[in-house]
């Protein structure tokens, strides 16, 4: 697959680019609601990759950062409404971590709308659709994050040196 040079400048974003959102949905509420949305044929943007976790409290901030590091443009976390957590405290922990994580991400140059926490009960299939669609639109407007590409760009300065070193070796043998 050919890699076209892409920048985050909106004018030069490839027309084919579509946002990639990684979603962590809690088993008891949000995932069930997503199932409901599916069964009820409520459409939502296909740009989402859903990962089921037993509780939104299972979402380690490392997962969010890892998702970005692997190319996600946005991360959505879905959990039970406050007070309804199957494990009692889990979603409160998620909320606290999410709020601190947002501050961290701001310092590191990742825009607010790229991470979102939403409380979605098991019966709220429509809310799943709505949230996903909203988020995809917001992230589409922000443009790609494409960290994997960024890392490659950053590391090109190293590769240059390696190539230099290798080409020097070749000269010696010639």
């Amino acid at each position: 697959m050919e890699d076209k040079p892409v920048t985050t400048d909106k004018l030069s974003i490839s027309k084919d680019w579509e946002p990639l959102i990684v979603a962590f949905f809690c088993n008891w509420c949000t995932y069930t609601a997503a199932d409901l949305a599916g069964v009820s044929r409520m459409g939502y943007d296909p740009n989402v990759r859903v990962i089921r976790v037993m509780c939104s409290g299972r979402v380690d901030p490392q997962f969010v950062l890892d998702a970005f590091a692997h190319g996600a443009d946005g991360v959505l976390i879905g959990g039970c409404h406050p007070g309804d957590c199957h494990y009692v405290e889990g979603n409160y922990k998620t909320l606290r971590r999410y709020l601190l994580l947002k501050r961290l991400l701001r310092e590191l140059g990742i825009e607010e709308s790229r991470v979102r926490l939403e409380w979605i009960a098991a019966s709220e299939g429509e809310k799943v659709s709505k949230t996903i669609n909203e988020m995809v639109d917001q992230v589409r407007a922000l443009g790609p994050l494409r960290l994997t590409r960024k890392f490659k760009e950053w590391d090109a300065e190293l590769a240059a040196l390696e190539a230099e070193a290798q080409s020097e070796e070749v000269e010696v043998h010639a």
């Binding site: 409160y92 606290r96 601190l100 994580l101 961290l104 310092e107 590191l108 950053w154 190293l158």
Partner: protein, 322 residues
């Protein structure tokens, strides 16, 4: 009489503290000097780069490189020492995870060069002279290395065999590492040569750490009389202990100040800053967003606090838009 095994030390974007930790072997250094031949150690010995270049590849048993990688010269030395050494050890926080200098990853190369050479209050440089990589002198040139776009840990540049964590590592851990090397009983490649538990496990204040920690306020150390016998977190003072590897013998704690995370994470954690963020946030004693935010306001500098030594090795590595 067989040749003694050869050892080398080098420093990249370093402060020299790791060198001091080696000298802090104190009396043990005489024993070490008996057992090995130190063939390169710029802080203490006059061997030159060309001496290293002249050595056969693989002729050095082990080289301990400290300091992070910021310039092309440091990359060259890393490649050179990798070739000449059988074992390459990332020594100290900077080589292990980027160290304090990797906080520079929140800034761009241009921001740094402009401030240092033009804007700093004590600089007078009307002609805006900047370091140039090449300066011609008659038929030849003198050179300066390239200043890279970001700071890297040693293993982001070359293959590393082992790590000795800490800012700096303790002489005790160093001695253990040297003995291990000489014994030939090498641990699996990639091992961090320090215990694999969190600092809380070794901390003298461990008994006072609540199992169900509830934080009502984050206190900056000078806002309160620090109780020398109680867990810092229980006092509302941020301590990196839960997300930091032990092995340092809790020295900062014995100085009545909290851990700042210099030993890096345990093997079970990929991103130290994210992990302590998770731990501290979970303990915030509030449920409403406004109340939580109020308590979080007490964390003045999330990046500098959570990633003080490990920004280069974090999952995001740097401020992504610089």
């Amino acid at each position: 009489m067989p040749d003694k095994p050869k050892i080398a030390f080098y420093w990249c974007a370093s402060c020299g503290g790791c060198e001091e930790s080696i000298v802090d072997l104190a009396e043990d250094i005489l024993e070490v000097a008996q057992a090995v031949d130190i063939v390169f150690w710029p802080v203490a010995m006059d061997f030159k780069r060309k001496d290293v270049e002249a050595m056969p590849d693989g002729s050095i048993l082990a080289t301990m490189v400290n300091g992070s990688i910021r310039t092309s010269e440091q990359e060259e030395m890393a490649y050179l020492l990798r070739r000449k050494s059988q074992i390459l050890i990332a020594y100290g926080s900077c080589a292990h995870t980027g160290g304090v200098p990797s906080l520079a990853n929140q800034f761009s190369k241009e921001q740094i060069l402009r401030y240092v050479y033009e804007e700093a209050p004590s600089v007078v440089n009307e002609q805006r002279v900047r370091p140039q990589p090449r300066h011609q002198h008659n038929g030849t040139a003198v050179t300066l290395p390239e200043f890279r776009g970001l700071v890297r840990s040693l293993d982001q540049v070359v293959e590393v065999d082992y790590y000795l964590p800490g800012c700096p590592p303790t002489p005790k851990l160093l001695k253990q590492a040297v003995l291990t090397l000489l014994s030939g009983n090498l641990p699996p490649k990639g091992t961090v040569l320090a215990p694999d538990t969190a600092l809380c496990d070794q901390c003298p204040r461990k008994e006072t750490k609540p199992t169900d920690l509830k934080i009502n306020e984050f206190k900056r150390p000078h806002w309160t009389q620090i109780d020398p016998n109680t867990c810092f977190l229980a006092q509302g003072i941020i301590c990196m202990g839960p997300a930091t590897r032990s092995g340092c013998e809790a020295q900062c704690i014995s100085g009545n100040m909290p851990c700042t995370g210099c030993f890096g994470p345990t093997s079970r954690v990929r991103d130290q800053g994210a992990k302590i963020l998770s731990s501290l946030a979970s303990s915030v004693n509030a449920r409403e967003p406004e109340d939580i935010e109020k308590i979080l306001d007490g964390i003045a500098d999330p990046v500098g606090t959570f990633y003080r030594y490990s920004l280069a090795k974090s999952l995001l590595r740097a401020k992504v838009t610089r």
